[in-house]
Amino acid sequence: MIDANEALKNEGLESLTKSLQLLLSGLELMQFGFAVFDQDLKLVASNKRFSEVQGFDTSFCKPGACLEELFRFRAKRGDFDVENDDVEALIAERLDRIAKLEQHEVEHKFADNTHIVYRYEPISQGGVLCTLNDISEIRRAETRIRQLARMPEENPNPVLRFTRDGTMEYANQASEVLRASINCQLGEKGPKDLQKLFVYVLKTNEHVEFEYDHAGRTYAIMLAPVVDEDIVNVYCRDISQQKQAQAETTRAREKAEEASNAKSTFLANMSHELRTPLNAVIGYSELLQDEALELPDISDIFVPDLEKIHSAGRHLLDLINGVLDISKIESGKMETYCESFDVYKMIEEIPATVAPLVDKNNNTLRVRCDQNIGTMHSDLLKIRQSIFNFLSNAAKFTEQGNIELRVERGQLNGEQAMVFTISDTGIGMTPEQQERVFDPFSQADVSTTRKYGGTGLGLSITQQFCHLLGGEIEVESQPQKGTSFVMRLPVFYQQQDASSEDQLVADELHPVQVDNNARKVMVVDDDPVARDLLKRHLEKDGYNVTTVADGNDVIDIALDWQPDIITLDVLMANVDGWTVLSQVKNDDRVCHIPVIMVSIVDEKKMGYTLGAADYISKPVQQSILREVVAKHIPESSAAQFELLVIDDDEATRTVVRHTFEKLDCNVTEAINGQAGWERIEQLIPDIILLDLMMPEVDGFEFLDRVKKTPEWKDIPVIVLTAKTLTKADYAKLQGRVENIYEKSEAPLTQILGSVSEQIRSNLVAPS
């Protein structure tokens, strides 16, 4: 039989053993190494980690093992970096310290780079607790921080760190000169102007870069806020040398520009000075030829020589002009004058101009260009001169052959282009000659020059012109078969000088803001370039523009879009402008819209007979367009002042209507709040006169929704009520209405008089 007490005791022992086992298992799992030694420094218990960390065999490190033995084992293993003789001393010292039962820590770094902190702690009942803490991670992080901390130190540029209040918290070696010059050392406040910036960057949490001139040096400074720490890192770079180099470059460039300007001025002046006497040489040789022809005796002798003087003079003049052109192009001084022009019209005039050249060698010129090829926006004079140069070249090197000038629409780098092809059946060129054909002063060979004349500059200038206008030239040729030049030019050329380029970019970034309330212009033209030009011009003037390519769509789009005015091209591919004009004028729904005819064909009378409001000739000049459109656009109706009166009392509404219509206001009425909302949904009034007591939706409810709706909340509201307002009513209206009138205060007409005064005195002035 087991005693009950004994049983209890046994049970208690069992439970104690269980708890102890649990405790030991827990200690086993602990990430700290752990060991308990008794008074004699013999091991009582330890966990696995204790052995693991120190590399002890569990058979060696078991209860009863001496701490001294453990030390000796480690010493033998070479854990302690001391000579053999000193090992015993070291052990003795360690043991002595532990035996003294004073709490202390020893850090040890093992061969595998683990850092362990041994913590010895006396246990009150005697004995020592030893815990091992692995701080390798911390030590590694510390090492890393130390290494990183070297970086700003080694940085050859100044690196500083300031607190929010401007105190310098860190400064690297390289900042010495800078610190001295701004007179600020560690722990001191930095320059006042910088302090302001610290606060700013900490607020915005954005880097700020700027240049800082000090004591004859220039620094590029970057402030990098560290908002979490309320710290600003300051990175500096001495850019004095760079600045100096830059300044020198600028100076050099200015000098070069000056020289180039001087050269251009010199050339311009020289060309003038050369042309004046040449004028005399050419003129007198012509004069003498005329006079000599009247004297048959001597004309045979003199006329051929005079002709030579004359032609040499002309040649010299061409050369001067060519050299001047080339030098202008080279110095970037060649300006372009862009305008919109009809390509067919330009081409039409060419045969007459080149006829003498073409006829000289008995050649035939054929021109192929569609009459409706459309307009171009480019430099007319340069294009004409280029075509002329090609044709004169063709005429020069072709005898009794054919020369053809062909104009077509095409593509260049994905954009619309005008393609001019000039081909001949002349002497042609070898591939080598083709390579040099555009070089200045490089006619095929010297004998060519002698035989065919010319300056050798024409094609070179032509190519430069073509590049200047954003185009390109190709040449194809076979000796004895002929040559053809293909010049592709963008249909819409935007002048490339800095200001217009900026403008173009600006236009792209900020497309012309089209105000939806702006007057609406509908542009009808089948030529995309002309459409685009008109659109740009008109949008610049603040019009809302829509473009229509097909004349057949005009009525439909006009009905839908309700333009205030239409510009209509006369010559269109699908349907001509006159037909469209008469369609518009015979349709009751759109006949009120003024139509401005735009055309290269001058037929004003026809336009006026058919009901056109005005007539503009193409190419359109912006000033004329602006003037004509402004003249015919109907007076705006938007200027009328819209007043909405919401009142269930018909008499009040009528009086309001009469009073304000006399003042040129447009008055709309609503019989309660609901009707009021419906009105506003259709048209936002400039002002609302509001009654408070109304059936269904009353004034308060009406006002609530108006003030909550973003589009409506800014409409001024004046309360006009028969209700005697309570304090609570006033509180509800306070700050949400412009004014409150109680009908009982005064006769209605008198109240309305002051309301209209108020409207007039800018409080709610119509915009």
């Binding site: 042309r275 050419i282 004069l287």
Partner: protein
């Protein structure tokens, strides 16, 4: 006979152009600077004026403006002659009130053509 006023400061150009136009059957009157040009436009009442643009005293642009602002003279056609061959020169001349424009050295047939056009229009 059609009377032409030539305003030109360069002696050679003056001599040459006037002689050539004389041969074409025009009556020539000549001014050597802008001020004289304006004066002679008034006293001689020419049918057409050929005006050099770079002139001493009063330049061609100014002289043209003065002539064109005179009610009695404003219908007298003026052709600007200049050695500058920039498109802006042409515009400047037209802006000043010139009716047409030609570059120097003068190509006589072309100039005669322009003169004929303006003289016919004025008949």
């Amino acid at each position: 006979m059609t009377k032409i006023l030539l305003v030109e400061d360069n002696e050679m150009n003056r001599d040459m152009l006037s002689r050539r136009l004389l041969r074409k059957g025009f009556e020539m009157v000549i001014a050597v600077d802008g001020a004289q040009g304006v004066e002679m436009a008034n006293s001689e009442r020419p049918d057409l004026i050929l005006m050099d643009m770079s002139l001493p005293e009063i330049d061609g642009w100014e002289a043209t403006r003065l002539i064109k602002s005179n009610d009695h003279l404003k219908h007298t056609p003026i052709i600007a002659l200049t050695a500058h061959a920039m498109p802006s020169d042409k515009q400047n001349a037209l802006d000043a009130g010139c009716d047409d424009y030609d570059t120097k050295p003068v190509e006589l047939p072309r100039l005669l053509d322009k003169m004929a056009q303006l003289l016919n229009a004025n008949d």
